[in-house]
Symmetry: C2
Subunit: 552 residues, 2 copies
């Protein structure tokens, strides 16, 4: 295996290691920003600096009111759910799915009605973890089976930042940042981690039940004879399932015994276990003196087998699980009440990207307001339901239509945790501190733009209510469709007049972004032998690794 | 003119006249229902009869608590606004339009999240007025210019029913039930009426400003030379604008002087006047001993000229007016508070059908969740925002996803006003009493079906979450697309399996409906010379009538 490291990467590594001995002088260096942010900062810098003092004071007052302690942070990230499917009562009735607990949670906090993610799970999660556009970290969509790649140890995650600042940290559920040791959550700053090595394609789609439910035509050998197939390795097998580990330790697979076949029942038990472990972690961490950061990334509603008895009016195999998610999130909130930590905890609940609309109809999920879904750069791929609750800090029942990007959570979490000094200063941080929106409400955002990538391709640029779909290489800029998102939320009617007046401004935005990339080139993805750091690999997994290594 | 009257129509007329001397025995006759309702009644009759006693008691208790008085009813019907555009906070942010007063109103009452209308203004309004599918009244879409037709005096409106029961009644704003005397609101039961003879195509679209705003290419002679046109009557002109009248009196045109050209300024003043007159009527009627029924049907947001300075983030020429409607509705609610009538008034606020999506983009309105708009039989044409507030009777912040149809307002208003005995018994009443939903909440509806017409054509049948688009004549029933509205709200993916299991049930539903029509044939539309009963016709209107009569 070619374990390539560039000079820049080595420098970045040193910098990460250097965090432990970071001097106050170093910490005072400004965060490196994208050109577009600096362009705004030149227009608003004085105003923002003044406002920041006010916010620092407010945060200090809140700490004082909480016995000097910083807030806990609970971050629940739901998989593949489009804007409107959770927490918006009228749309519950449209879908025939009820999310009363999420609706209630929304009414106790702020609805971030213009939250942007990346168009797919891995990049969105990388953005929240690193505060950076995933393209800068080398992260793209991580494939289903073995890749020997993952989030590099040259990246600094929010868990590392908060750990430095004295937070207890735990990650439960989906991770999806690669199959190599350095990418695992317990090697990326989490004290405890329980997570599946891969994702739900393996765990929910590649099961006999899902194949028999008509969702994976012919994949399962029981559903076809397979007589003419030569290559027995084409269909992935022997993949590691769920593992658990503590910071710096080895991972241990806990969900499957050697020789056992993965089934829907395993998937359901895994989901239930993560929910249970989240509650357990909550109890454990609430009992400590330190504040905590608990990250729960459930696998539901992704699911490809119809329930024996549906509970929702909708009944679709994913829509029905949204109601389960609602129950489970409610149980977490109840537990927080019981533990007495609700008041001093910032809880963020959101989805990671739009629905898998490829299963629209039978899954019971639908695009609702925006067009497209997972993998798309239209709003349907990247606009999600997002809510933040922090009693006493965030006004109950408030809404903000300011643009927020998933990477902003990194910077905002660091700010409220007084951990900004641990944000690295040697690389671009795209995440913007949105504490002003949380504390002062709608209209206090510091971002009126988003760059929309599919893997390493810049596909669209959003500025205010305008969105330009980047023209194909070589095409004239006026051929790039520009959409007014308030008037055409489904991006169906590009008007040439829009492109003509805004084309140059959009090009300038892109230039500012590209100049930043030139000054701070992208990091490289971590590369290693797959399944490193797992102490109890099943024989079938060992064989799968051997197959993989045989041609690498 | 051929003033045709059938024998049946004459009988119906007698029956209307007969209402004044209706005997208790006659009143005790059951309301004539559509076969589909009777099919449900056969399944739930005993249960409903028991529940009705309970509801009667609750209504009696409420009257007692209100000094023996029945509730007032205020019915605000907005023109051409799709589901999601008013009163749903998250979708406010999607559109860049804020409706805080409607949102607040919704939170004080019940959201009727599955309210169905007809696909166009005239039929929806006829349905609320008569409690009948418009097809039964002979009402179709009423055209823009002279037609010599309208809602017949053989129909019994909710205003007539409530007048009989001792209510003061007033109608302000859009009427759109025809250009003949018997169709005017003051001849259909309203004590006072201020309304335009026609609708906004004349008042908002056919103006020099709208033509210059690019919304009516070439219509206005100032924008083209018109050199080759022979027929000078092809473009409608000389139309009557706004009139006012008292019950049984003559109408008087109040908005335009002879020789004057109608402009956007006239349209804006007309809108403002209706709002002012609504407040005035509210004051006048609140001062009386009788309970009142106030119907306000604004002309906005229909509008085709951009404001000099838009107020919304959206800025579209209709979307911007949604914010004006919000202000104005808020002012009405404030006035009700001031007058002390808010507690004893049922206020229903809703739209009459989906948006004019033909102007999507520039108007600033968009389809949002459902597909289609005005004139369509898809949900986008017939699903609207609808809210009902009645403090003490309706639970604040509640929602109901039960199917409700615009015609149900007729029957429900009659029930809460103790006026059911004045509902005619000689014709089919489609409107279902939805008081159980209002008083007991979600899940207490008595309708799980809707027939969807475009004029006299039955185009779709809705049952529970299923909707069948009627196949073209001669096509096999399995070719009729059947959609699950929870899973496919945009009606894009008909699944043959749906049609196969439900086809026969849908056909049976249609048969039950058609058998009822056979037993109670449709009524005939009123016909007369246009502009009868207007005492101050302008010379240009007289000429227009003469032209019309010359070829009839």
């Amino acid at each position: 295996m070619n374990k390539q490291r560039s000079g820049w990467r080595s420098k970045a590594l040193c910098s990460v290691i250097g965090l432990t001995m970071m001097s106050p002088v170093l910490a005072a260096k400004p965060i490196v920003r994208d050109g577009e942010y600096r362009f705004l900062e030149a227009q608003y810098g004085d105003e923002w600096a003044k406002e920041d003092k006010e916010i620092d004071q407010k945060l200090a007052d809140m700490r004082e009111a909480n016995g000097g302690e910083r807030p806990n942070i609970v971050f629940v990230l739901i998989d593949d759910v489009s804007f409107g499917q959770m927490g918006k009562p009228a749309l519950n009735d449209v879908m025939g799915v009820q999310t009363p607990r999420i609706n209630q949670f929304a009414s106790e906090g702020m609805s971030l009605n213009r939250m942007y993610t990346e168009p797919s799970c891995t990049p969105t999660r990388a953005a929240t973890l690193t505060g950076r556009h995933p393209v800068r970290t080398g992260i793209k969509e991580v494939k289903v089976a073995l890749v020997g790649e993952g989030l590099g140890d040259n990246e600094v995650t929010i868990a590392e930042v908060l750990s430095k600042a004295g937070y207890s940290t735990a990650h439960i559920g989906k991770w999806h940042q690669g199959d190599i040791e350095e990418a695992y959550p317990h090697n990326q700053g989490f004290d405890f981690a329980a997570f599946p090595l891969h994702q739900q394609v393996q765990l929910a789609l590649m099961s006999p039940e899902s194949a028999r439910a008509n969702n994976l035509l012919g994949w399962y050998e029981g559903t076809q004879s397979n007589a003419l197939a030569l290559d027995k390795k084409f269909k992935p097998n022997g993949l590691v399932t769920g593992v658990e580990a503590r910071k710096g330790g080895k991972a241990r697979e806990v969900d499957l015994k050697p020789g056992e076949t993965w089934t829907q029942a395993h998937y359901e038990r895994m989901n239930e276990r993560y929910q249970r472990q989240t509650i357990e972690q909550l109890r454990e961490m609430a009992g400590k003196d330190d504040p905590f950061f608990l990250q729960y990334w459930p696998l539901y509603p992704l699911n490809f087998v119809h329930p024996e008895q549906a509970r929702s009016l909708n009944g679709g195999f994913m829509a029905d699980k949204l109601e389960v998610i609602d129950d489970w999130f409610g149980a977490i909130l109840d537990e927080m009440d019981k533990l007495g930590v609700a008041d001093n905890t910032l809880v963020v609940f959101m989805a990671d990207n739009g629905l898998m609309y490829h299963y629209e109809g039978t899954s019971g999920q639908s695009q609702l307001v925006y067009r497209g879904g997972k993998t798309d750069f239209t709003e349907g791929g990247i606009r999600v339901d997002a809510y933040a609750r922090w009693p006493g800090a965030i006004e109950a029942g408030s809404r903000a239509a300011d643009i927020v990007h998933a990477s902003d959570l990194f910077t905002t979490f660091a700010r409220v945790a007084q951990a900004e000094k641990y944000i690295p200063r040697d690389r671009v941080i795209d995440g913007i501190d949105q504490t002003p929106v949380l504390l002062k409400g709608h209209g206090n955002g510091r971002r009126d733009y988003v760059y929309v990538y599919q893997n390493e391709l810049l596909r669209a640029v959003v500025k205010q209510e305008w969105k330009m779909h980047i023209a194909a290489p070589g095409m004239p800029a006026a051929a790039a469709g520009v959409y007014n998102l308030y008037r055409d939320p489904r991006e169906q009617h590009p008007l040439i007049g829009h492109s003509l007046w805004s084309g140059a401004s959009f090009q300038d935005m892109t230039k500012r972004h590209m100049m930043t990339i030139k000054a701070y080139p992208h990091n490289e993805l971590g590369k290693d032998k797959p399944y490193t750091g797992i102490e109890n690999l099943r024989p079938e997994s060992v064989e799968t690794v051997e197959t993989f290594m045989s041609w690498h």
